[in-house]
């Protein structure tokens, strides 16, 4: 007898059926959809600066020139003196307002560099836990094609402390990835590496994997046919690991690229701020040009500064950079902070210009057209973890349309929420205006870089208009 009953109903059958498809670890999803080696590389770089930006109240005479955010509409926006250095690149950049990570909006700005690229609820005290950063999500995919999956840099180096990050990058377990800060060390890694130890280690791994495959086959022979099929998944895992190993091995055998070193001052330190800065940017540029990596992060200083590394502002004649944010109400205070932020924008602009002026070696347009470059901070006004000041540049070939000032959220169109505050009233205060989750921009960025995902940092959905 043939049963015409629709297969749609039986609940027990259904329940038995489900789970199976869900068993794959979520990490697997990153493996899908790559940008093949024959298309132009898609790149991502994020530059982070601590201490936020100047945000005087409208009534303040300094507002006209030294408020960070532009004036006007999406296309006809007008840059203040803080960002006017980017005027020549106007068509290549987008400036955002009204974005922030919801989990940290009432956490002190000093604690927040940690979560800028992760969106995690890292909090203000007690136990600490972070999650994977945007760059590393992409690096897991883009790293397939390059010698280094990512380049992680900061002026201060290392990981910093919990809530005092000195790196912008966090791995899939939420552990900080140490940042490099000596140009010489970075250059050697990128362009001098010999790799003898690495080769020996790979050779040992290769032998172990070979053994495991042979051993597993003989183990499998003792199992039932059904169980052998299950075991096949283990063998696949070992084989996939071997493939990765072979790739790594290939890089060891491939000579490091030769690059033009004229613009590098490898002995520069943060005290020679301008030179150091330019050298670090130049290293990112060279690593992109040689396709040594497609992912880079760079953190300037650390939140709450202090110590010998907070000297970047020397380039424009100031002492400790963090102090500038506390002195905005002193004579020329807004101007001084604005001048420092202007200098950061200027160096970012120099880097962007260079990407723009360089043709993509294996593809259409310029390096910039295939690169999404971000510049920003996790606070706007004094210690205030809202309305992040973010600039992005490039990415034309990824689908980004620049030359715009994009305001998101509601109730803070003139960026006056929290303006002019120099006390803790600001960051402790209630969130009165509506902002959108920055992670929505991150989802958009990931998708355009070719990562199949609908969410990031617990936030689902993309950002409109970008």
């Amino acid at each position: 007898m043939k049963n015409p009953n629709a297969a749609s109903m039986n609940r027990r059958k259904f329940l038995r059926g489900t789970g199976v498809a869900l068993g794959l670890p979520w990490l697997e999803t990153f493996a899908a959809n790559d940008s093949g080696p024959d298309t132009a590389p898609k790149r991502f770089v994020s530059v982070y600066h601590p201490d936020g930006v100047g945000l005087p109240v409208k009534a303040d005479p300094a507002w006209k020139d030294w408020s960070w955010f532009p004036r006007g509409g999406e296309r006809d926006f007008e840059l203040t003196k803080v960002l006017d250095v980017l005027e020549p690149l106007r068509k290549e950049i987008t400036i955002y307002s009204g974005l922030s990570h919801p989990a940290a909006r009432t956490v002190h700005g000093h604690s927040n560099a940690d979560q800028y690229l992760t969106g995690a609820a890292t909090g203000g005290h007690g136990a600490y836990k972070n999650s994977i950063s945007l760059d590393q999500v992409y690096a897991a995919q883009a790293g397939e094609f390059t010698r280094h999956s990512s380049l992680v840099m900061s002026t201060n180096g290392g990981v910093g402390g919990p809530r005092g990050a000195q790196t912008q990058s966090y791995n899939r377990e939420g552990r900080p990835i140490p940042a490099m800060n000596h140009p010489k060390q970075i250059f050697d890694l990128l362009f001098v590496t010999s790799g003898k130890d690495a080769a020996a280690k790979l050779a040992r791994s290769k032998s172990a994997l070979d053994l495991l495959i042979v051993n597993t086959r003989s183990f499998g022979r003792k199992l039932s046919k059904h169980d052998q099929e299950t075991l096949e998944q283990y063998l696949d895992a070992v084989r996939d690991t071997e493939v990765k190993l072979t790739k790594a091995r290939k890089w060891i055998d491939t000579p490091v690229p030769k690059v033009d070193t004229r613009n590098l001052t490898l002995e520069a330190g943060p005290k020679e701020a301008r030179l150091y800065f330019q050298t670090m940017y130049e290293l990112i540029y060279l690593s992109f040009l040689s396709d040594s990596t497609r992912v880079a992060t760079f953190q300037l200083g650390r939140e709450n500064g202090g110590g010998s590394h907070d000297l970047l502002s020397k380039a424009v004649g100031f002492g400790n950079a963090h102090g500038l944010t506390h002195a905005v109400k002193k004579p020329k205070g807004w101007e001084n902070l604005g001048t420092y932020n202007r200098y950061q924008a200027e160096e970012f602009g120099r880097f962007v210009q260079k990407l723009k002026d360089t043709r993509e070696p294996n593809g259409q347009g310029s390096l910039l057209d295939n690169t999404f470059a971000m510049h920003g901070s996790a606070s706007s006004s004094f210690h205030l973890s809202r309305n992040y000041p973010i600039i992005s540049a490039g990415g034309k070939n990824l689908g980004f349309k620049n030359g715009r000032y994009l305001k998101f959220g509601k109730g803070n169109e003139d960026n006056q929420a929290g303006a002019g505050i120099v006390s803790d009233r600001g960051w402790q205060g209630k969130v009165a205006v509506e902002e959108l989750p920055l992670s929505q921009l991150f989802v958009t960025v990931l998708q355009r870089l070719g990562v199949e995902t609908e969410s990031f940092g617990g936030i689902t959905g993309t950002l409109g208009r970008v």
Binding site: M1, K2, N3, P4, N5, S8, M9, N10, R11, R12, K13, F14, L15, R16, T18, G19, V20, L22, G23, P25, W26, L27, E28, H108, S111, H125, G126, A127, V159, G160, G161, R163, G164, R172, E173, A200, R204, S207, A208, L211, L212, V214, N215, T216, F219, K222, L223, S224, D227, T230, L231, Q233, Y234, D236, A237, D240, T241, N304, G306, G307
Partner: protein
Amino acid sequence: MRKIGTFPLSRIGALGGIAICCLCAPASSHGAAPGSAESSAKQSQSSELPPLDRAREMGRAKSALLAPVLRKEAPASAGPSTANLVDFKKHVAPVLTKTCVACHGPKKAKGKFRIDTLDPDLMQGGDVDWWLEVLDVLSNGEMPPEDADVQLADEDLTKITGWLGSEIQKASAVRRNEESHSSFRRMTRYEYNYALQDLLGLTYSLVGSLPAETASGDGFKNSSEMLQMSAMQFEMYREIGLKALKHVTVSGERPKMVVYRLPMQDEKLSVNSNEDIGEVHPLSQKLKKGEKPVKGVSLDQRKRSVKFNLSNHLPDEGMMRVTIRAGRSTMNTDEYANLRLDFSAHTSNNANFSQVISDRDMPVTASADSPQSIHFDIPLSEIQRNPFRNNIEKFPRRDEFLTIQNISSGRRNKEPLKVLVDFIEISAPYYEQWPPKTHRDIFRESDHKTNEQKYGREVLTQFMERAWRRPVTSKEVDPFMALFTEYRPDFANLEEAMLEVLATVLATPEFLYLAQEVPASNSENPQTISGLELASRLSFFLWSSVPDEELLELARKGTLKDPTVLSDQVKRMLTDSRSNRFAQNFVHQWLGLDGLDSVTHVKDSSLLEAIQEEPVAFFDEVLNRNRSVMDFIHSDYAVVNERLAGHYQIRDVYGPHFRKVPIKPETNRGGILTGAAILAMNSDGKDSHPLKRGVWMLERILHDPPPPPPPNVPEVDLTDPRILQMTLKERIADHRNSPACFSCHAKIDPWGISFENYDALGTFRTKIANQPVDATSALPNKQEIAGMDGLKRYLLADRQDQFSGAMVHKMTSYALGRPLSFSDRAEIDSLTVEFRKKGDRLGDLIHLIVNSSIFHSK
């Protein structure tokens, strides 16, 4: 709520009783409606209700599984294995045609279902799942609907269920030999963690980076089909294995210890011998101006903690032993004191962290006159450290801090309880011996230590036998030995090279998977697992980990399968502390307690901890005292600690440990249904969630999961003023009455509504928003249920067979690490009968399962 018709009460009880019984009922039992349901159903409607323990006795008395006719037939599972189509044609088909075909036949096919086309051959046919569905809806009184033209007479019902029950039993046994039902699987993350710990003597977890398991449809994480493997995961196994091996072995000379002590204390109390000590640093308590350093520390309700600056002397790795000698100033039994350790740093403004580093709070029970020594061992490489500690610059700050916290109950006695500490010593890296035992267990003493090939082979063989849980041949060791020989020149000494090889052993499927080998073709019992496989199955069941040497030794000797030996081993294993993992993991998965991880409305962390712990503690009590599992439905005791007792308004319970206390009916607790874990987890964060609670009941307690929600569920329109005015229960009823929702919700909601007297925190209530709570509902079989008491009463009176069957099913599935299928049904049913006969006792269930043929099958 919609009132659903009138229905003869006698039917209800009888149907409830049949729910399980008909599975085992022999075909000849036509007409013999089992049980005496009539009386209890009537009683449950009368105003004078018997106490719950009486309901339980009566429910047991009418169990169909315990009916005499079954006792005779149940063990005879080796009946004829061809379909009984004669009886079908003669007795069953006419009834189906008369009763069902009008709606489920050629003219109409309601619910897209036709009964006339089902293949009555359950042995060979393809419609077994549909027949199971038919049996369920008939047994639970859901079909035919009460507004149907035709009704089903009891006699006819028994004809169908009798025939079906017997056919299902036979078909299950037939399919058992045909279908694959493999327990071959990899370890879960938690099992891998315990296996590493037990194998290597590691005392902490290193597996945080491994992805967590997805639970199966049954809620189990150790279910074979859910345990996948990926390249990423495989690489992690290799990394973690090597890391673990490095953590338990040492090289070179014993490192000198950094020691901190309170000033002015008696050095003779030191746990360390002097020659092992390098630097000694005073522990500096912050002193007020002019205050002199004191001997010891006094902690009470006002000064709850003491914080020490350890500067940056602590090593990066190794164990930190914190020894605290402490006693209580008073010995009042209504007060307790515990010690807890916190570790923190404050590197610059707002860049700080602190974390609890002790696994669990350590009770202070001694009096101050004869204080006790309390030890904490903390792996320094596994806690959050100050990343700047080794910097040359002084900023960001490099200091690390240790805080000793006094976690105690605060009572306003005349003489408040103080914890008096007269000695504190912090030593790191701390080793009890050198080299430590964990090292010597891998690199054992041997006469061949000087001959690297010989000694290497010894080390490898010993290690492989423990990791693979069986003897290994020298041929199996050869390739690993070859790997060692290849690695050796890259490393300074044998140990370092060997660790890399041992890490490879820890990445083999022989370690990572639980396997049952195909026996040699001349084997006597090809379907039976070997003694060594039994040892592993047993230890993963009761210890969530690898077997110990005693189990392996018995397996090698071939005596483990001896019922007496096996029974003794189960007893030994259940008294071993490793069996805590069984209670923990089984209860968490059975009840779905992961749901508590996403609960955010329980703000008090000590309450949340207690809520999470209660079901496990309750299970422990039932298991250790070998009580009946019916206690899970209702008990006249609760298992609580002080925090939870406060929440339940049970008085005179002091201290953080869980213990059994008698309760009265007006406490409105007892069993697990009224545990705050279940109630809080199945809420929406603000109020109760009857739907979630109903689904939970069906899945976890009755093992009768509802279908998943359809894709186009209409949202409840909260802008509609009519709906806004309704109580929650009315809204549910309103939603249910839309035709798209009715069929499922009618089955789910009534169960959940009976929990309405408990809010989102599990607190008992009689009013919601000033209106009296309405917790009455009617099940699809028309059974009226009045609140939690009514629910318990009904379960105890009419659903004992179903619940005990569910327990057997779930425990067996967990024990085997695989989902159970139709082919296991016959065995599960006969196990359930045995279980019921022995009095439904939880401890007996473990023994029954371990001795069952299903547990010994491949």
